[in-house]
Amino acid sequence: MADLHAHHRHPGHSSSDRLYWIVAAILAVITGLEVAVFSFNLDHTLTILILIVLSVIKGAAVVMFFMHMRGDAGIFKFVFVAPLTIAISMGLIFLLLFSNHSGIAG
């Protein structure tokens, strides 16, 4: 019977380690860029846009390379991406509906 762990063992782990170091360096650079963008006092909307794009890149790198989602079974992608999509949609909808609403907070 097929070993369910078989697909985890793959050759060339030293090259994987190099990739992890490269990804970590890129993440560090992007974090530095985020702080720099924050410090530059650009237009508020542009700042938000750049920061969100940079954080999405960081998040995608962590998920794809560190969490090994790249090349993993599709069912893992589904059970993560589906709730993430719902979460982002929920957040945007709530912000749209309640951003000018005082609500129970007075």
Binding site: M1, L4, L51, G59, A73, I75, I86, M90, F94
Partner: protein, 225 residues
């Protein structure tokens, strides 16, 4: 009482005998050889369970972040308004973000070392991950103490409430992750893990990377924006 194989014989006398028995034998043989029994989706159930848990935690933290963002605007119009920009230190928090990202690197290096049966490296990177996690928690304690000394508390304003609930829950997740990492380390000292038995380590790795992912979102949406 009839067994399954006998039932199939009595209901369908010309059907192939012991289909159920053959499947049971196959499963027993698989388990005896140390491999996991087959699953209907063809993936390890433990890993699927962890990803599903991560999906639910994504919704949980999204709710807390959304609450913070909505409260931020409401906060601005209230008499007890506390401006987050005046209280949140970006330089220090950037260091915490770098610490957590570094811990993600050490975690993935730990798993990689285990898969090559480099047990010494595996344990070193695992301990480094737990150590960096503890540094992060220490940094959060320092930040929380400073905020409290500046009268930003759970009750001081809507900013205080939503900020401490969000970052407090995240810090709790980091703390539980550190406990999990140290328990995996302790089990590794008893020879529990190898390249053929790495699922426990992969699962704690997935949890740890998710905790880092949440901080990526919190750092951007709460501290920078």
């Amino acid at each position: 009482m009839l067994r399954m194989s006998e039932l199939s014989q009595t209901s369908q006398p010309h059907a192939p005998v012991a289909t159920h028995d053959a499947e049971a034998s196959m499963i027993r043989a698989t388990v005896q050889h140390g491999a996991e029994p087959p699953t209907s989706l063809g993936v390890d159930s433990r890993k699927l369970g962890m990803w599903t848990f991560i999906g639910s935690e994504t919704l949980f933290f999204a709710a807390l972040i959304t609450t913070y963002l909505i409260n931020a605007r409401i906060n601005a119009g209230r008499p007890d308004f506390q401006n987050p920009k005046e209280y949140l230190g970006i330089v220090f928090t950037s260091m915490l973000a770098a610490i957590l990202l570094a811990s993600s690197l050490t975690m993935v290096l730990s798993l990689s070392a285990l898969r090559r049966n480099r047990m010494g490296q595996f344990r070193v990177w695992l301990l480094a991950t737990a150590g960096l996690g503890l540094c992060f928690i220490g940094g959060q304690v320092i930040e929380f103490t400073r905020l409290y000394s500046e009268h930003v508390t759970l009750q001081s304003s809507m900013f205080g409430t939503s900020f401490f609930v969000l970052t407090g829950f995240h810090g709790t997740h980091v703390g539980l992750g550190v406990v999990w990492l140290l328990s995996v380390f302790a089990r590794s000292l008893r020879g529990r893990y190898s390249s053929k038995n790495d699922m426990d380590v992969e699962m704690v790795g997935l949890y740890w990377h998710f905790v880092d992912l949440v901080w990526v979102g919190i750092f951007t949406l709460i501290y920078l924006i």
